[in-house]
Subunit: 350 residues, 4 copies
């Protein structure tokens, strides 16, 4: 079987493994205070043009999300999130387990929310004429960039979110589990420095973007950075051999490897999307990144699934199904060629 179901079926980019092997017996101090972590932090601060931002390396995405959110919120405060946001649907209630309500907003199939939605919610809470203390106080806006459905915010959309957050005293936090696929998209005007300028916190994903595992948490807002190492430790995110994380981000941020390898994945995804469109398959939702969502007739899907693994997304009607087709830094061009050829053959457009 050939896997197109997700972007974490392989291990790490070879350059990362090389580094792990080369430094394996080097002795270093623990808990992320080694020189590899130090250098990786510097490279990330440079890439973000935020010389003062806190940069921390955590093991996984769920952990990074709830550690940041828990740090930002007081007990009576909650997090605004798109309904399909990862924290709202795929983290087993990790945010609630730290005591905070997720205030979910409708987001359609893109997985994006708008500044005006955030504004309405805040107006109702803070200026609705009712005593506000009977409801959860909104304090942080969580977005994913790219979203779980492959979409990207435009710079203008992010700036509008930034403004409404400033107006109501909210933090803005972007989950960048697939950040590299967004940064290298052919259809984005958002850069790392933009995110660093507009967000109080964001993550730069490693697990889905070439690393064995690991997420970099970037904290341009010093309020969130103070004492953040306590939060990492308490929440089980402080790796004893922290250098494992530092080494990986050091490799990814050396010579632009991070966006280079994920840009290639985006291109392979565009090829698949073009083939789907040619085959007359409707888009489930448009995506400019490595995840593509198309609606397949069930019979066609059954035939393709003899060879390829996709990710089930939604049954759209009795005889059609939306699936996610994912490429990654590790996707082989010949596998994409084969998928496209098989698709063409099955729909009779060779």
């Amino acid at each position: 079987m050939i896997y197109f179901n997700c972007d974490y079926t392989e291990g790490a980019h070879p350059r990362i493994l090389e580094q792990l092997c080369a430094t394996n017996l080097t002795q270093s101090v623990g808990y992320g205070e080694d020189e590899f972590c130090g250098k990786a932090r510097e490279l990330i601060r440079e890439a973000c043009r935020t010389p003062e931002a806190g940069v921390h390396f955590l093991v996984g995405g769920t952990q990074a999300n709830f550690t940041v959110i828990r740090t930002a919120l007081r007990p009576h405060q909650g997090v605004i999130s798109p309904e399909t946001g990862h924290i709202n649907v795929h983290e087993t209630g990790a945010v609630e387990a730290t005591g905070h309500k997720v205030l979910a907003l409708p987001c359609g199939r893109t997985g994006k929310i708008s500044a005006s939605q955030v504004e309405s919610l805040c107006q109702e809470h803070f200026r609705g004429g009712m005593p506000p203390e009977h409801t959860v106080q909104p304090k942080l806006v969580y977005i994913s960039h790219p979203t779980e459905n492959g979409a990207l915010y435009t710079l203008a959309e992010l700036e509008a979110l930034y403004r409404v957050c400033r107006e109501y005293g909210l933090y803005l936090f972007a989950d960048g589990a697939r950040m590299a696929y967004g940064l290298s998209s052919r259809d984005t005007d958002v850069s790392l420095p933009d995110l660093a300028h507009l967000c109080d916190a964001f993550t730069i994903g490693g697990t889905k973007c070439g690393a064995l595992f690991g997420e970099a948490v970037v904290l341009p807002n010093p309020e969130l950075n103070a004492d953040f190492r306590y939060a990492i430790k308490q929440n089980g995110g402080m790796l004893a051999k922290g250098r494992l994380l530092g080494l990986q981000f050091l490799a990814l941020f050396t010579g632009g490897l991070y966006t280079e390898i994920c840009g290639k994945a985006d291109e392979q995804a565009y090829r698949i999307a073009d083939a789907c469109r040619e085959a007359g398959l409707p888009e489930y939702v448009p995506s400019p990144t490595n995840q593509q969502f198309f609606v397949f007739p069930d019979e066609l899907l059954r035939q393709l699934e003899e060879t390829y693994v996709f990710s089930f997304w939604e049954k759209v009607d009795e005889t059609h199904t939306a699936v996610r087709i994912c490429t990654s830094w590790a996707t082989k061009e010949e596998n994409v060629d084969a998928l496209i050829a098989d698709l063409r053959k099955l729909v009779g457009k060779p």
Copy 2:
């Protein structure tokens, strides 16, 4: 001003105050282990025909709700609730503050959810074909009876909820903050023994039904009752002078006072509803209990609000507003007379 905005603007029924005064200097043991609490427990068990059920007296409704829910759930489990459920919107995220997600279901204006909605959610979680551990496991169904919008479940609806809960191993918990107004409704087939038979836990509200304060938590399911006193204490619900609560419920459950006084409130509410209908005002949502919801032209509302206080519910369009009109055990018939007369006068139907 005459208050029809809620059912807790006065103190307690006089018979309760008498009891408090009569026993004020009697010495008794603390923490709800006194003889007044003991007798009140017995009366409630008799009224529910559950000789074995746990009965506990807590100070308030939010506290009762989160203490029961927290006791019922393991950390990875959540509570199914109607979107307008009190725990979901008016308790400042108290359930989430104990670590649990509220899984909200659409409920229209009645505030009720159906067995089939619960079943769909459970099927998707437990039998959806996806590894379930990435999402919160449903474990308890929270309903209000009457709902926040005055509606009542029928016995058949409760039985259906009971069955789906049994099928998926869920607890059923009914918030009875306004229980007395439901039990004494002219339009219900649900009795206390029915609730005790179908629910794993439910509350019998005192605060809104004649007491100074206090909610009785009834736990027919012994799993929930074991160690429940630890939960009360830990969550700040164990009154040192517990007898204050026992005394009040003792008075309310002696001679049927509880439903007698709230049945009168229901009748006053029906009179107001009839007058509204006569005046041609549309029902916002039908209610067989002490809370009535009607849509007023804004100008009419403005005139009435010179004398009467209602509870704003929703702006339904540019020139109309839905309000809640509430009676209680303490509502004076002459105030209702006055309201009805003024309404008739203002709409020209004297």
Copy 3:
């Protein structure tokens, strides 16, 4: 039986009951925003000489303690407490249930901790040379005044605690569940304005000092007061009929009732203590307040316990037991006379 085991075996001071009865059918707004609460707040601010302090009325002591502590602490922070502090031993882990470690310090039988103990703990954490993030960060000092064992801090001791708290950025919080018995002690130099000046937060107990129930939380530090009403609501401490609490504190702080009635209790306690000393019984720990602790030969205790109820404290050796003898605002002088007479008779010193 005559109860000397604790200070909450009776109801409320008659003047409080009168007020409850007189205002029972007055309609008022809910949740502590009524005029009774308003006036009570003003009286308390005047008594504390803190015109700006936040004053909130909560139902019970455990609730007041964990609500304040939870509000003050970030997730990685903990509370320093004497080992015998109420939060450490008699609140079923309520503070831990909100996510915070209690950092317990030895306190002997008095239940008091010193500034130098706090300083040592802080020095070790903040300046110990180890990365601090592996241990809980101390952020609040919890003391009881009077302590659970009847002792009082001197003004000098409180000032020293204040200074070390300022030095290390800690909050100082005094649990005043028995505050009135401390303020009216013949052996104290600490007044309410002193506490308001030195503490970031403290409580003024009602339950044990003449009220049916209720604790006033005073928050001289505006950081803690901001959004505190959210915290009250979320933690189940916001009474719908909040005026019940306001009314009681209004009565207690009118004409000095609060300290007047508890001063009498202290005097009765001193009489009992004098009789115990005369009878040759050793003090378990000296106390200048309404709780007295003496060591009794078991046989003598058995004889007294035919008529009187005391509180078991500790088995000190094979044949001797320390007990707590408690008076309260409701203690009758003739009961104290009887106890003293019986004690004298039994030890042969009539």
Copy 4:
């Protein structure tokens, strides 16, 4: 500098790195449901002779500890731990952050607690004659094997703990962060099957015993295993590329690598200990594992620390300091030779 300060200064045993490299581009399913994890689970079940036990791979020790403890406890329950237990002092209150009190027992320098200590605490809580609900209910006993101070429980001691746990309905949980050094000690009668027979849960440490990172959680008690994957996910411990953990434990449990490499570390530690004893240095606490604790004159220590890094443990008097000297699977024999030679030279016993 040569590091003897801890056992996680290097990366992984070469055989693990080989496996990571060899399988790097193999596609596999995520979240620990791949075949590598499957095989590793089987090997561990065999080594423990518990064919039915749950085996889960988590990223780190703090995470493993609080995930197990949180799963085992209800909100009103706490965990009994030695005062020096890792969860009590070096995990930033992670257990409390999940809502549970740590009930710490004195343990001297060994870090061990006895069955009779546990029994006393349980007797006081459950049979002390006081209503138990005002204090935290003990429900789990946490021990470390080896302890943080290098000590090991004997089989008889573990059996006694097992019996008292059964008597009072407590779970027994052993933190095996350094398990391999204990299993391969020359001075132990405890095997993996013993632990699996006596404990409800225990961990088999990878991070300090040859792996890059990772702890295996073994759950012989099916109550704890049910739904444990939800707990892992919710607490941020479920690695997307779970095979990274499976692969490492597969390598460690193939051909006895786990105890083989750590047995060598123990031997190097014994050589160092012998040299310290020869040099007349007093043992701080005896240890049969890879951590050795000796008391050095400060001047001697200063000289050694020009070349070697130890871990500061405690200042024992004005001129002496206790330090920890640690070996690991990666310790080079020549470095031990050098340390011993330098020590002999400095104390004049070459």
